[in-house]
Amino acid sequence: MTPRTHPYSIELKGISKRFGTVQANKNIDLQVPAGTIHGIIGENGAGKSTLMSIIYGFYEADAGSISIDGQLVSIRNSQDAIKVGIGMVHQHFMLVENFSVLENVILGAEGGAVLKQGMDAARQELKRLEQEYSLDIDVDAIVEDLPVGLQQRVEILKALYRGAKILILDEPTGVLTPQEADHLFRILKSLKDQGVTVILITHKLREILASTDNVSVMRQGEMVAHRETVNTDKEELAELMVGKKVRLKVDKNEAEPQQTLLSARELSYFDSQGVERLKKVSFDLKAGEILGIAGVSGNGQSELLNVLSGITPMASGEIQFAGQTITANAPKNAAQMRDLKMAHVPEDRHKMGLVTGFEAYEAAVLGYHDSEAYNGKVLMKRKAMLDECNERMAAWDVRPPNPHLKTANFSGGNQQKIVIAREVEQNPEVLLIGQPTRGVDIGAIENIHEQIVKLRDAGKAILLVSVELDEIMALSDRIIVMFDGAVVGEVAASEADERTLGLMMANAWNEGRGVQV
């Protein structure tokens, strides 16, 4: 290790970055003392990943400067970042699965056209690194045979081999078991002891408190606070993270919940990697209520919506809906769920809710394209589709009210209105609605919220998923919180406040029912 000549291993001044109309980073200052573990926390979309991408050269900042060990540097791409000693471990690993650990590590640093020499030298160096930091990994193992925890260590090894003195880890524990996570933190500790500076990006408060020296909090693109970890606690961090937001106002009466329309029992789901994304989720959804699901995104909400709506099959569990029992052995697909009068506004309208290449009137029947209203014996009834689209565009104030305009050319709010109108106008019994107002302007938000409440007052059941805490609190009659694929708590909306929900979302709340600590 080169002797440190400057107190700050990395120092950012006035970093700003804008994507279109979104200011992802606003005038960010950050000082990371050499040889420390520095945590950066914030909600989804707070700008953490953007900031790290700027440091690692994926994006160039619009303004501001980066200094490494007191030297002003210019980082235009990841090669530049590696040159000044920055290494990054991404949330999704960048490994060649059928290469050995050794081959992966020297990838891009082979040292000449003939592999043998470089490989031998690398093997020596890796052995040394591996022992020095007790990484405990077989350099000849094939990466795809290794569990995720070890694959992550290969990423760390890769960064160290390239001479990283600053190591950035983006949500490193997202894919790890608790034991693997503990091992990771021991490794980070030994890295720190050897003088490596570690930057840890996470939204898990427990990890920040357990492993970091300092912590910085980001909110809506801004750096809102810097704390020494020993001088802060969960409550303060949760509050800083969520902030005191202006309460959204939604005019609604007390809910009058009636009979249960849908009940989910112990739903489980595993993704293609075999990771358990839903862990025995159970809840009841009653007619005339809005059930909000709060949680930092990526904690199983999307999977829950997909399983309920029939898009992905469940691994185990049971759904009772419309007199039917749906299980893994007796599944129903998305079309069948629709026939039972379940409507679904997906979280991502571009990826799922719309076909952006379609004209508006075509996108406005997606999922209901088999309906008799739109079909003659052979051909589709174009005129009927157009008439209906015109009517809905008028009723929902979609602008411009042109059913022939390509869906991609509408603004986000108007696209969302097209989707919500399509689902709500089918008069469903249950509406699943994910991120109803993501990327939607203020005026449209109000309109969308009103429509949701109206549907509730008509005696329908609504399951609302949102990462916007204030939206959840404004709309819901009852709130359940998801963390790591499981339901970790339930509160009545009248008793919910930001602090409690924030702590539950970070899985750091330890009073009350069903909470894992």
């Binding site: 709506s309 029939g310 898009i311 697909n333 998305a334 079309a335 069948q336 769920m337 629709r338 679904h344 997906p346 990826k351 799922m352 809710g353 719309l354 076909v355 952006t356 290449g357 379609f358 075509e362 029947v365 997606l366 999922g367 394209h369 088999d370 739109y374 079909n375 052979v378 051909l379 589709m380 174009r382 991609a408 050319n409 509408f410 603004s411």
Partner: protein, 365 residues
């Protein structure tokens, strides 16, 4: 999001035209390099393709095959599938047509044989596309690889069948007996003759009408039926298709069946319309040329007809050119075709950004 749009005539008219002109310009350089006058050569080519009745007939006869294979490639592409197997599907489709003609030519009238052979050709082509389709939809084997391999299998299968089973006895070459005239699809010049119209003798036959009918069928199917709606959803956004409860695998299999069916109809033109017997290698690369036709035609039936006629003209005019100027060999003609494919297919986006940028800037200003 930008609401400005490039006018339609730019993207479907101007840009393809620029690409073709560039291809002809480079072809001109090739002619100069071998010491021939490009203007004179272009004259022969255009005259050969469009200058007289027989030439036009030949151009449209070639175009017929290219419309079938172009539609085949294009409809698969609507589902995001790249069907490279048009050649093999056309080959097997021709086998189906030929077998039906051989079985029924002496017992049934043309009015019965023709629909039978058309359905048979489409079914055989579809059946040949079914296996790669099944493997793609249910097993995840890549359709590009399997359809290419099925071209070779089709080719070997035909050689085996022709040599061992279908060859006429006592003949040295692998061709079947000639069908009775009741299994000949009428030539266009025979169709027009009773009306006193002389359009010159050419292989152009009623299969051309079938090809145009297929274009209408394609248009109605893709844009005006619910199956077409599903097809386009699967092709542009498979996740949204899943969300909508569309069975992607089922759509994949069906679209490949239709694609193979279109390709199989090449057999109607070649076997029933022109050769009147079963033989080897009648597909002559139409399956592959169909890829270029679909690309140039922007996956729209009107575009496919125009592109097919352009390529038909290159086939026919090129043959004329090679005949008129001895130093221009058929291989040079293939070079021209290659250049057109290169510039309008592979390099189709070369001008796109710049020209569209030009129009968008003007629209903003």
């Amino acid at each position: 999001m930008s609401q400005a749009k490039v006018p339609a005539w730019v993207s479907v008219g101007l840009i393809p035209l620029m690409n073709i002109l560039l291809a002809f310009f480079v072809s001109g350089l090739v002619f100069l390099a071998i010491g021939e006058d490009p203007i004179e050569a272009a004259g022969y080519l255009i005259y050969g393709a469009f200058g007289y009745d027989e030439g036009i007939g030949y151009t449209l006869y070639y175009a017929t095959n290219l419309i079938f294979t172009g539609l085949a490639v294009s409809i698969a592409f609507k589902a995001g599938l790249f069907n490279i197997g048009g050649e093999g599907q056309a080959y097997i489709g021709g086998l189906g047509v030929g077998l039906l003609c051989l079985w029924f030519d002496s017992s049934l009238p043309l009015l019965v044989i023709a629909p039978l052979a058309i359905i048979g050709g489409a079914l055989f082509g579809a059946a040949w596309a079914y296996i790669p389709a099944y493997l793609q939809a249910r097993r995840g084997s890549h359709i590009v690889i399997t359809t290419i391999m099925f071209n070779f299998i089709a080719s070997s299968l035909m050689v085996y069948l022709m040599v061992n089973w279908l060859k006429e006895e006592g003949v040295m070459s692998p061709i079947s007996r000639t069908f009775e005239e009741s299994a000949w699809l009428p030539y266009m010049h025979d169709v027009f003759a009773p009306f006193g119209l002389d359009i010159g003798d050419s292989p152009l036959n009623l299969a051309f009408v079938l090809a145009l009918f297929c274009c209408v069928f394609y248009w109605a199917l893709v844009w005006h039926t619910r199956w077409g709606y599903q097809l386009r959803t699967v092709g542009t956004n498979p996740t949204a298709a899943q969300y909508a409860g569309i069975d992607n695998a089922k759509v994949t299999i069906w679209v490949m069946l239709i694609s193979g069916g279109f390709a199989g109809l090449v057999g109607v033109n070649e076997i029933m319309g022109v050769n009147h017997n079963l033989l080897l290698n009648f597909t002559a690369g139409y399956g592959f040329a169909g890829i270029a036709v679909a690309l140039m035609g922007r996956n729209h039936p009107i575009g496919i007809i125009l592109a097919a006629i352009l390529f038909g003209a290159l086939y026919q005019g090129g043959a004329e050119l090679a005949f008129e100027i001895p130093t221009i060999t058929p291989e040079i003609v293939v070079v021209i075709q290659g250049l057109v494919i290169l510039f309008s297919g592979a390099l189709e986006n070369m001008f796109k950004g710049k020209i569209e940028g030009l129009f968008l800037r003007r629209a903003v200003a």
